[in-house]
Symmetry: C2
Subunit: 212 residues, 2 copies
């Protein structure tokens, strides 16, 4: 959010423009019993900060934007490519047991499953593996493609997608991670992993001012 704390005169100008806009600088000055010159810095600040817009020969009008609005604009510009993690993939013929071991070794919550051409065919979550592991099956003999969530039911994103759209998908689909893919004629190549951990880090980075 912008911490331009508006002073009381700027607040009054905002009120005047909200009620009377479009309104000229002269008319605002008149209502406040001040000169146009005195108001110039205030109007400049309100315009530059996005609260007001000025149109030649029309005057100032209220944009409806608030300080928060301006923050949201920043978040809305963040792209997947700047925040995703490295993907961990297993072949579709890998056994469930080996997939669980890979998950522990790599310390990730989601594995992406690829075919022999390295194209995305499915996704394995901890939940999928936990469900399989309490079944009566022999984990060493069943391949992951039996228990995975498979294409076309896999939700994915691309490098150029917006972080906020991907975050919404994570929430809506109730999943922990999205594969970041590159589309080719043959299918989807997995090039990244975007998780709720990435989202949590973005929030911390925004708070610590580490995202410019």
């Amino acid at each position: 959010m912008m911490t331009i704390e508006l002073n009381s005169r700027q607040e009054r100008i905002l009120e005047i423009v909200k009620e009377n806009g479009p309104i000229t600088g002269e008319s605002i000055a008149e209502k406040l019993n001040l000169t146009r010159a005195t108001l110039r810095p205030d109007l400049a600040i309100l315009t530059m900060s996005g609260y007001l817009e000025a149109r030649p020969r029309v005057g100032y009008f209220y944009t409806g934007k608030t300080g928060t609005h301006l923050l949201s604009d920043k978040i809305k510009k963040l792209l997947v490519k700047d925040f995703h993690s490295i993907p961990v993939v297993v072949n579709e013929n890998t056994s469930v047991y080996d997939a669980i071991c890979t998950m522990f070794l790599e310390d990730v919550g989601t594995l992406f499953v690829v075919d022999n051409r390295s194209l995305l065919v499915g996704v394995l979550s901890r939940k999928d593996l936990l469900r399989a592991s309490i079944g009566q099956q022999e984990l060493n003999s069943i391949p992951v493609n039996i228990i995975m969530t498979r294409m076309p039911n896999v939700t994915y994103c691309r490098r150029e997608d917006l972080i906020v759209d991907s975050a919404e998908m994570l929430i809506e689909k109730q999943i922990d991670a999205l594969p970041v893919v590159k589309e080719s004629e043959d299918g989807l190549e997995v090039i990244g992993r975007l998780t709720k951990t990435n989202m949590t880090k973005i929030l911390v980075n925004l708070a610590n001012d580490d995202i410019i």
Copy 2:
């Protein structure tokens, strides 16, 4: 973020103050071959937006703050109590098998373990349960208190804590959820669950301007 897009003159002023600050308005004007009056609105904007600070009889100096800084102030004020979820708890004598079933029924990634007085004694993640389930143990006969992460090694937060501090703990400890607790003389009562899903939702809400 504030979308005050600085104009090129303001950018130059920032550069001058960064290199020469503290510096008077007159000296800045001189370096730019402009009058002090011409610069007044620019200096007002740079001061109000937090880029520069002005001290009487000293001059302007650079604060090191950026536009983003201002957004970060907003995130830093968010409190746990406004965003956490409902906790799901199991008794410490529950079997691992029943805990796994509870996790699926309640559709959560983390269970909190309490003793007979309902006080927090441990935490169970999907990872803990997955590890147990591929062991050679009989899941119906071992209680969760054998495999859980136990106090005092449990990381927790309180209702009044900052979201950003809790988010940092989630990342640092590499866990998916924190119990939100109320401290009493006897121990910790679990009153909430704060997860990376909550953090992801906060990010989306900030982007959509739903958090004022």
